[in-house]
């Protein structure tokens, strides 16, 4: 039998089972807005863990990370620095956000700004930053999915039809089952991905070098600079590492979808326990590095580093196994994309459209609009993914630095009484202006420091100073 047909059959079966679970998750739950967006705040440790893990392992952590290990070397270690520290930071803010959410029945990140600052325009601005940042993120998932299906079906299914079909399914199960569907598809995705990462990560270095140790020894001999920073790059050294790890770990939970996951939890303690355990999940991440590093010596001439993981699997294993990896990879794109679309759609309907354009809308109408927006945003991401490709990664990085600018508003909002709406507004606007200026003109990293981190520092300083200047004029 033709290997392309075998691999494609396995991929389609995995995606079909995953989607079925997504649709069935709706069973026995009536879908009002609160159930759809935050699962009625009833998730215990296990479901929250699955939902959050589902958000963390994206196509970027699979393809992008092995690609960085392959093409840049040691700077990829920033991922191992970021993941545990993001959970450490979450320990200190998510429980408080969850309790705030229960008290005031909040469902989105922008809702928190509305409750704390009471300014509709600030809320709408926050929602807009979220939606604009999320769209390229969903687009990255789509493009990754296209690559995964195309490579793992030996070119049997081209990326455009693969993207259209897979995202049609994503939009459908988000539309029907909301966040509960996403959490349950995550179960299948994570089991498959865990199996894939452990098996491939151990087997590949073993097959070519006789083990992980001999693989490192061979890489250290052939390319001694590859395994310490700045690796194969010139500007990703220690100051870049520190600033990037700080920026990404502190702003990871500023992504609207990661932030809103805290509203699904039953209690603040569920989130604290989750934050304690999550770093253990990152133990699979180094295994993905190992595959990329093996490829450095085994497949030295890849045109695109992002293909390193799949190319190694394709070179080493039979078609059916490539199919399993492809199916796991496809779900790895679909689950995060589902949460991203759901978050962006809810933000748009609840915090942007209703307060600015249609104040009279009922909750049911907002729920209806949010579901419609899932379809609209999916089509938007599809169009972007099919017709643009060049500056994908740079767009995502701008999005990351963009959501980071929400941090002072959240942090001061939770723990400081003196911060003012004007202060947050000025700091955030200045931070975003700096991000756009530095990153779109190609100045990242700026003098060896992550540009988003510089913008965040200015944002914090401005928020503080302007708040102190305006505190007397405000209501307090």
């Amino acid at each position: 039998m033709n290997p392309s047909v075998i691999a494609l059959t396995v991929i389609c079966s995995i995606v079909a089972v995953g989607s079925l679970v997504g649709f069935l998750a709706r069973f026995q739950h009536t879908m009002d807005l609160e159930q759809w967006t935050v699962g009625k705040r009833s998730f215990g440790v296990v479901l929250v863990w699955l939902l959050m893990a589902g958000e963390i392992y994206t196509t970027y952590t699979l393809l992008g990370v092995s690609g960085w290990a392959y093409s840049r070397g040691a700077p990829v270690l920033y991922i191992l620095g970021v993941q545990p520290l993001a959970y450490v930071f979450s320990f200190f803010i998510l429980p408080q956000i969850c309790e705030l959410g229960q008290k005031y029945r909040l469902q989105t990140q922008a809702d928190v700004f509305q409750t704390r600052y009471g300014n509709t325009y600030l809320t709408a601005f926050v929602a807009l930053v979220g939606v604009i940042s999320l769209l390229p993120y969903a687009q990255v998932q789509l493009t990754g999915l296209g690559i995964i299906v195309e490579v793992s079906s030996y070119g049997g299914l081209h990326r455009t039809p693969a993207m259209v079909v897979a995202f049609g399914i994503v939009a459908a199960f988000v539309f029907v089952s909301g966040v509960r569907g996403v959490a349950w598809v995550s179960v299948i995705k994570d089991l498959l991905l865990l199996f894939t990462a452990v098996f491939v990560g151990i087997a590949v270095p073993f097959i070519y070098f006789g083990g992980i140790g001999p693989m490192f020894a061979a890489v250290a001999r052939a390319k001694p600079n590859h395994l310490v920073m700045p690796g194969a790059t010139t500007n990703l050294g220690h100051s870049w590492y520190i600033s990037t790890v700080l920026l990404v770990s502190l702003s990871f939970y500023m992504w609207p979808q990661n932030f809103a996951a805290s509203f699904t939890a039953r209690s603040g303690n569920t989130l604290r326990r989750n934050a304690v355990l999550m770093p253990l999940y990152s133990l699979t991440q180094p295994l993905i590095f190992f595959v990329g590093l093996t490829a450095v010596l085994v497949l030295p001439d890849l045109s695109n580093g992002d293909l390193a993981f799949l190319a190694m699997v394709r070179k080493t294993f039979p078609a059916w196994f490539l199919g399993i990896v492809g199916g796991a990879g496809a779900l790895t794109a679909m689950v995060p994309a589902a949460i991203q679309l759901l978050s962006a759609a809810t933000l748009f309907a609840k915090n942007l459209f209703r307060p600015i354009l249609a104040r009279g809308m009922t909750d049911d109408q907002v729920a209806h609009l949010a579901r419609m927006m899932v379809l609209v945003l999916t089509i938007g991401a599809l169009v972007l993914a099919i017709y643009t490709s060049a500056s994908l990664v740079s767009l995502l990085l701008v999005g990351y630095a963009g959501v980071a600018q929400l941090l002072p508003g959240v942090l001061f909002g939770l723990y400081s009484r003196r911060v003012t709406t004007t202060g947050v507004f000025v700091g955030m606007a200045a931070g975003i202006a700096m991000v756009v200026l530095l990153m779109l003109t190609g100045r990242d990293p700026f003098k060896g420091v992550n540009a988003g981190f510089i913008a965040l520092c200015c944002n914090f300083a401005l928020t503080g100073v302007v708040s102190l200047l305006t505190v007397r004029a405000s209501s307090r």
């Binding site: 993941q83 450490v88 001999p214 310490v228 180094p286 723990y415």
Partner: protein, 76 residues
């Protein structure tokens, strides 16, 4: 919102100190441990040690919360 306790924050700073600010101290290949370069080994080790620190922070926060719940129960 009630801020987290100082003890919990200090425990949370340990992983930041160990894996972020101190990069210049551990970013080297030798000595390789179990065949893994020292920088890779160090960060993998902290995937295991970070939960230990945060377990301590969890115990502090949980006991503090029980105390306040108790007080609330007493006054209402």
């Amino acid at each position: 919102m009630k801020p987290p306790s100082l003890g919990a924050i200090l425990l949370g700073l340990i992983p930041f100190a160990a894996t972020c600010f101190s990069v210049a101290l551990w970013d080297r290949v030798h000595p390789m441990i179990f065949g893994v370069p020292f920088n890779f080994f160090w960060l993998i080790l902290w995937l295991l040690l970070t939960p230990v620190c945060m377990w301590g922070a969890y115990r502090l926060e949980a006991s503090r919360q029980r105390d306040t719940d108790h007080e609330d129960g007493g006054t209402h």
